[in-house]
Symmetry: C2
């Protein structure tokens, strides 16, 4: 815990978030930031995700980022809730990129992603032919850390 | 450019953002996500920053993340503007962590940060004594990339 005397005169409290609350934050949010290394450089991108208590599931078009994750599977998902400058919390789930290639599992997860994010659903028509196949991957969560700031 | 046939029937356009617009995004936003490696693992945290056209300026309490950046200075700042699921843009500025130790320069940058983010200003009183000294650093931007999604 970290105490800083703030300009507005209260007491700034920076505290670790417990595992239970961190899990709940991962479950209830829809957008996170994926961190990885692309060509040896730190890289961050906003993504939609699902968390089932063990793994974070994401889908993506193939490309440079996916190639980078295949080469260096270390990655993290950061999720935040910001009420205002004085009250916010942020969690990070660390894990490894695991591409889902089993057809049945892939369909199941894609179905869950499309259900939660209808705007990502591709049109079921001949027009999708010729488009690159969507990659589905998981980040099997090995560790979660989190921090909150509250001004009392 | 990437065209995907969307569920809602329009045309999804994913395009690179030009340097001028990417620079403008970095200038007008207040919150970004810093990506780096901490203990060899990708790490992401939300931060307040200033961008002056050459460098991103950030301040932080000392600790594990600062130690990690001293060890491995590769980092990036990602900034996004999300109107809705269908219309968003994201830029990344890549660079190296450079700690600012010159007292005059440090004061000047801290002043600019406190002016833009009054909630971060410490109380000018004896109560701040004994608190760890704030670290000021810059990310000298070497490269900027950006992408936008728009549904027509």
């Amino acid at each position: 815990m970290n105490l800083i005397v703030p300009a507005k005169g209260g007491l700034r409290m920076i505290e670790a978030i417990g595992n239970r609350e961190a899990q709940a934050m991962l479950r209830r949010n829809l957008i996170g930031h994926l961190g990885c290394n692309v060509d040896g450089e730190p890289y961050v991108l906003p993504i939609n995700y699902i968390y089932d208590g063990d793994c974070v599931f994401i889908h993506s078009l193939p490309g440079r980022k996916i190639n980078a994750l295949r080469d260096d599977p270390r990655c993290c998902l950061q999720v935040e809730e910001i009420r205002d400058e004085y009250n916010w919390r942020s969690v990070i789930a660390f894990g490894r990129y695991e591409e889902i290639t089993n057809a049945e599992e892939r369909e199941r997860i894609l179905g869950a992603l499309y259900k939660r994010f209808p705007h990502l659903t591709p049109v079921e028509s001949g027009m999708t032919k010729g488009l690159p196949e969507i990659i589905v991957f998981r980040l099997r969560v090995e560790q979660i850390t989190g921090v909150s700031e509250d001004w009392k």
